[in-house]
């Protein structure tokens, strides 16, 4: 449904997205997971036609976004990262506006507005001005505006940023409901829990490039059954050889990271290799997307 072919986007000399390729099928949620500035929004904006890719092609429902924009955009829904609604109008007026922008009208539009309001749990506030909403409610409305026309392809750019757990639950449930209805969803986030919960497949992006791609299980298996151990303290005078048998990810003067099988059982042995008081903090993470990201980039997902 959504097909991206070797997409690159440059801003002058700076490459914000480089050689991005993936496909999202109908009824599938595809995640783009990456830290701030990874190029997630750049990719989404190239897909929605907001940005013109420097290289590459994007197809929505087999229509090229650049070549046949109207046909391509008809099947597309977009939830932009920044709110794009009228704060000085109420939810009904906003939904009416966005519904018409996607060619809905009359009774059909009114019915969809009712359904969508219910889906995001805003029925009781529908007639209040958006400026009186909480941040999470605005995000829910921002989302609702994109799904009125039942798009076959839906782009969600970090829809849950700054949203309380209740609003987030509403949103994630709504996205899952769309998936079961056959919508192809592209979901960007830097919350790996969300990616793990929602996404059938995902791509991890960093510095504009896809550094890993697959199902959550496939990606996890890249780590093997290993856990991620992070030690903090002063390691400036220590020789890396003390943990030679482990898979070293990062060695810095104030922190080191490495992978170890069954870390909990080995931890006291590992700590004994350092001098007393040298290690100030110890963290052990089970294999997850976050540790995969750290393994691949040497950095944490949230910086």
């Amino acid at each position: 449904m959504i097909k991206i072919q070797s997409l690159s986007k440059n801003y002058g000399d700076f490459t914000a997205a480089e050689d991005i390729s993936f496909e999202v099928q109908a009824g599938e949620i595809f995640g783009l997971l990456g830290p701030n500035g990874a190029g997630k929004s750049t990719t989404i904006n190239c897909i929605s036609g907001l940005l013109k890719p420097t290289v590459g092609e994007v197809f929505i429902n087999n229509h090229s976004v650049m070549g046949e924009p109207i046909q391509a955009k008809t099947s597309l829904g977009l939830v932009p990262q920044d709110l794009a609604i009228y704060e000085d109008l109420n939810a009904l007026e906003n939904l009416n506006f966005w519904g018409q922008a996607y060619g809905l009208s009359g009774a059909e539009l009114q019915q969809r507005i009712t359904e969508v309001l219910q889906q995001v749990g805003l029925e009781s506030r529908a007639k209040d001005l958006v400026s009186t909403y909480s941040g999470g409610m605005k995000r829910r409305l921002n989302f609702a505006c994109a799904i009125l026309h039942k798009p076959q392809a839906l782009l969600l750019d970090e829809p849950t940023v700054g949203v309380d757990p209740q609003s987030r639950e509403h949103l994630l449930n709504a996205v899952e409901a769309l998936k079961t209805q056959g919508t192809a969803v592209l979901y960007t986030t830097h919350y790996m829990e969300e990616a793990e919960r929602l996404c059938d497949r995902l791509a991890i992006v960093d510095h504009g490039k896809i550094i890993a791609q697959g199902t959550v299980d496939e990606l996890r298996s890249q780590l093997g059954e290993k856990d991620l151990i992070t030690l903090q303290g002063d390691f400036s005078l220590t020789d890396e050889a003390v943990i030679a048998e482990f898979e070293l990810i990062e060695w810095q003067d104030n922190s080191i990271r490495f992978m170890a099988e069954n870390a909990a059982a080995q931890l006291s042995d590992i700590l004994a290799r350092f001098e007393a008081d040298q290690v100030k903090q110890t963290a052990v993470q089970q294999a997850n997307l976050e540790s995969l990201f750290i393994k691949l980039t040497g950095r944490e997902l949230r910086d």
């Binding site: 929605s48 036609g49 907001l50 924009p69 109207i70 955009k73 008809t74 597309l76 977009l78 932009p80 920044d82 709110l83 794009a84 609604i85 009228y86 704060e87 000085d88 109008l89 007026e93 009416n96 506006f97 966005w98 018409q100 922008a101 996607y102 060619g103 009208s105």
Partner: protein, 418 residues
């Protein structure tokens, strides 16, 4: 169908937002009214009647010169002008200070030359900052001179008796009595035929300048009133143009560009919305003005149409300027910086009639200026509609078309500026 519906929705949302926001609309309506009121007060009387001050330096101090100067101190002209006798120095000082509308100097020997039927002339100095009043003085003087000439012809015989007496400063009582009786006789003979029409000529001429064919009294307030509506349109156009940047900033325009029924419908909707808001403003102010200044109601539909059309030209001009700028901040600065010259030179603060000619000429190059002049020439000065309005209409329509096409392209570029 769905597309025009979308434009309609965009327009109605714009109107709703303007009405809900309330203060913008109130200020668009109120500021022009307050300014007309204040400027009318400054210009003279509360009712905004045209008044001026006329300086007279009579170096001749003859019967003829008194006839000329006296003409301004009597009848309908006296209601408009306060006449002040001044010396040459005082007259020059007051004119330089801009404290009078016009200054008439009658040179020594004027009366004598006049009576001898020699070429005579009067000196008139006009205040360059005013247009109507000095014009009025000039026209009236012309008429008075004509009247004097008329008298000269009628009383030629008597003048010929009078002249040697004046020359020799020797007044023969008997001759003087005979002359006076002769003049009295002539006047009595001619009273019914000459003087009423003679006076009528003066009166009618004055009325011709003061009133147009439809009998609208020409007051400062009336001269300002169409310009004041333009002021409301300029303020409204300014805000509505910047409001497009708001929609770019709040993400609506970028998001719309990802929708199939996108920016063209949005832009047309903005234009329709602006037209509706202008219609509202123009109707309210137009009806108030028509009632206050007793304008003919039959002209109101054309007045309203013309003003809405003018508002649209101004709006698209602002939109173009705003959309060409790299950021909302710069757009704001530029649009505001353009607003004030438009108001000042285009006849909204000061009627162009009261501007120096060269400034008024600049004002007439501004779109609001020529659109306003076209309207006033027809509405207030009684020129024919075709003569007064065709050129501004064609220019305005051409601007509308070009700007509209241009803005449709510019708005697409806005996405990359936010």
């Amino acid at each position: 169908m769905a597309r025009s519906k979308m434009s309609f929705t965009v327009a109605s949302l714009r109107i709703k937002r303007v009405i809900r926001e309330r203060w913008g609309l109130i200020s668009w309506l109120a500021i022009p009214m307050i300014i007309v009121f204040l400027m009318s007060l400054l210009a003279g009387t509360g009712s905004g009647k045209l008044t001026g001050r006329l300086l007279v330096t009579d170096l001749d101090d003859s019967m003829v010169s008194q006839f000329i100067t006296g003409g301004f101190a009597q009848g309908p002209l006296a209601e408009i002008f306060t006449t002040k006798q001044v010396s040459l120095d005082e007259g020059k000082r007051l004119m330089d200070a801009g404290e009078a509308s016009a200054w008439i100097t009658i040179d020594n020997g004027f009366g004598e030359a006049f009576l001898s039927n020699e070429p005579t002339d009067l000196k008139l100095v006009k205040n360059p900052a005013q247009r109507i009043l000095p014009q009025l003085v000039e026209t009236s003087m012309q008429l008075l001179v004509d009247a004097a000439t008329y008298i000269q012809i009628v009383f030629e015989k008597e003048f010929n008796v009078l002249k040697p007496m004046l020359e020799q400063q020797k007044f023969n009582d008997a001759d003087l009595v005979a002359l006076t009786l002769g003049i009295k006789q002539q006047i009595e003979n001619l009273e019914e035929t000459i003087f009423p029409p003679q006076l009528k000529v003066v009166e009618k001429a004055v009325e011709e300048v003061v009133e147009d064919g439809d009998g609208i009294p020409l007051t400062f307030g009336l001269l300002m009133f169409p310009g004041a509506i333009f002021m409301a349109l300029i303020f409204a156009g300014n805000s509505l143009a910047i409001a497009i940047w708001d929609d770019a900033k709040n993400g609506v325009i970028p998001r719309l560009s990802a929708a199939p029924s996108g920016l063209n419908d949005y832009f047309n909707g903005q234009v329709f919305g602006a037209v509706a808001i202008f219609t509202l403003i123009v109707s309210v102010l137009g009806v108030l003005g028509a009632w206050y200044f007793a304008l003919p109601w039959a002209k109101m539909p054309v007045v309203i149409l013309w003003l809405v059309f003018s508002g649209l030209v101004i709006y698209l001009l602002f939109v173009t300027l705003a959309l060409m700028m790299p950021s909302m901040k710069v757009a704001n600065i530029i649009v505001n910086a353009t607003t004030f010259p438009l108001l000042m030179l285009g006849g909204s603060f000061f009627p162009m009639e009261s501007m120096p000619d060269w400034l008024a000429a600049i004002g007439n190059f501004l779109p609001n200026g020529f659109l306003l002049t076209g309207l006033k020439d027809w509405l207030i000065r009684g020129e024919g509609m075709v003569v007064a309005m065709t050129v501004p209409l064609v220019l305005g329509l051409a601007m509308l078309l070009v700007l509209w096409l241009f803005d449709r392209q510019l708005i697409k570029k806005l996405i990359h500026k936010v």
